[in-house]
Amino acid sequence: MRLATLLNLAFRSLLNRRVTGALTLMAVALSVALFTGVEKVRQGARASFERTVSGADLIVGARSGPINLLLYSIFRVGDATANMTWRSYEEIASDPRVAWTIPLSLGDAHKGYRVVGTDENLFEHYRFGEDQTLTFASGEPFRDLFDVVLGAEVARNLGYRIGDDIVLSHGLGEVSFADHDNKPFKVVGILEATGTPIDRSLNVSLPAIEAIHVGWETGAKTPLATIMTADRVRSLDLKPDELTAMIVGLKSRGTVLKMQRDLNTYREEPLLAVIPGIALSQLWETVGIAERLLSAVSACVIAVGLVVILVSILTTLNERRREMAILRSVGAAPGDIFFLLVLEAAVIAFLGALLGLLVLYAGLMGLAPLIQARAGVSLVGLGPGVFDLVVLVTLMGLASFMAMFPAWRAFRNALADGLTVRV
């Protein structure tokens, strides 16, 4: 009963201070929204980052840096400085320790999305998230030379459907000046969203990549490219000479280190083999500095929110001595006065945090598609969760703890003032 009384008093006194109370709540709400928002996006980024590839034992490419290899092979960021030969690919693929391989040949772009040459192993063996395989939202894997399978985001943002004809362009820009317009591709499959860079790629067969480039070997359009129609291209030998990278799955995990060493000392050409998990965490380390800085800043914002609570209580302390004497006269103990102020801080923290989380989720719901499209950070699984509860409870705890300072002063006043406060 005493608690209910004090809680009611704390609540009502807060309601009474409409303007300052609302401003305090707003400050707390904004700091909580910012902090939680940053943490959510951070966790989301990390989660979707770590979800990108799973179940693969090695990623192999021409020798460069491990992070570089990871970036262009898995995240499709940047370009390979060198390629690996098709012969090496075939040799590695036929190694008795190897269970499966996925070839990757990056190069062209289509309206800003990467075209990736690969084979049916991508659909069979690529794993992401919790060991999930790629599934088709509609259609099926490519079979013909000019078939293309779209990532979910490509299909959604460009409005493509099964059966659509599309033209693949040369170069990486959004608009290409040199469209390979004589080689139309047909959309045969659209993948389910994965929250990985696969969503943003157009997948074609390896020969298709060769076909696109017939007549472009020098990097500029030659007359050959114009006369080579789609039908003529079919009659050519389109076996690739080079690859950008390959993903390797081993029969036994135990052989991975030996295999990696063998590949890194490959005799035919300088290769680099990385273990995805290790490379991922190395990459995250580099990204992580910015990320930790962001965390630190948003934690500071929370601290500011707490100080605002403290100030809002401290400033009212003197003008409320009268009120405290009244409460004393009706039977409140000095401890009740102390507790009342601590409760007020907790109530402000609670309401502020609640408001902040509401603002955050309203904002996230509105912004999620934008963030997903622009940053590729999937906000899946960023709904309200235990983390929010932890933020809420922690904030209440910290606010209560800090409020002990004004509460202690009020406690002392209550003992010293007697019933009559001289103001």
Binding site: S13, L15, E323, I326, R328, V330, L419, T420
Partner: protein, 253 residues
């Protein structure tokens, strides 16, 4: 133990006979600052149902005495006994509980918690003492019912007044709300510290009459502090603080 009834004024023997005193002070001393004893009261007693007018010049320690009686301050020495409980020997929490249960306090002004409604202000003591809440319920059906009844008795019967914020009332109305709060749950003793000094002469008389009637109706004793001697006629007995305060001569140099 002394038979306290023998020590009372003969005229009030009827009122207090058969029951022990409501308040008893013995050799109480108090100093705000060390070695500056402003109160030394060898003996002071209030009988059950007694209404006492306590006068004294400004700064003589009247408000301080009320704080001592209410147990908010503790004397340096001596004994204060409220309704048979020795306050000076009791723990702070017991004094707080006793105050919630058995005391009603009215200040000169700013009596009300600004963010509570009139009705909630009146009901406040019942929130800090279950026993007092129970007594209010027995008398008015519910705490709110009793609060409403008291407000009506003090001329604040209009329903629309009860939900109002306390600070929206006039000073005279606020003092009556404070009186209702002091009276709710029939406490043993009501302490009023110049409750009428902010009122005009007519309102003063009305206020004191109402307060006295209600105290009489529920058997509460009343200790009414003022330096305005013209009010003394409304009371059973007048006490001059300077007369019962042995420290007076030193303090008022």
């Amino acid at each position: 133990m002394i038979d306290l009834s023998l020590l009372r004024f003969p005229g009030f023997a009827m009122v207090s006979s058969g029951s022990s005193s409501v308040l008893l002070l013995e050799e109480v001393t108090f100093a705000w600052r060390a070695n500056e004893v402003i109160l030394h009261i060898p003996y002071f007693e209030i009988g059950k149902g007694e209404r006492i007018f306590l006068r004294g010049p400004s700064g003589s320690g009247k408000s301080t005495l009320l704080s001592l009686i209410s147990g908010v301050l503790t004397p340096q020495s001596g004994k204060i006994q409220l309704l048979g409980t020795n306050m000076t020997g009791a723990r702070a929490s017991e004094r707080d509980a006793l105050r919630a249960r058995e005391l009603g306090v009215i200040f000169q002004m700013f009596n009300l918690v600004p963010y509570l409604s009139v009705l909630e202000n009146v009901a406040l003591p019942c929130r800090f003492s279950a026993a007092r809440g129970l007594r209010a319920k027995q008398s008015g059906g519910s705490i709110e019912g009793e609060a409403g009844r008291l407000l009506a008795r003090l001329g604040l019967g209009e329903a629309h007044l009860r939900g109002r914020k306390a600070t929206d009332l006039s000073v005279g109305q606020q003092q009556r709300v404070a009186a209702a709060r002091a009276l709710i749950g029939g406490p043993g003793l009501i302490l009023a510290d110049e409750p009428t000094s902010a009122l005009d002469t007519d309102a003063r008389g009305v206020f004191i009459e109402l307060l006295s009637e209600e105290c009489a109706a529920r058997g509460s004793s009343l200790l009414f502090v003022s330096h305005d001697l013209s009010l003394a006629t409304h009371f059973d007995r007048t006490v001059d603080l300077c007369a019962i305060n042995a420290a007076f001569s030193h303090a008022q140099a």
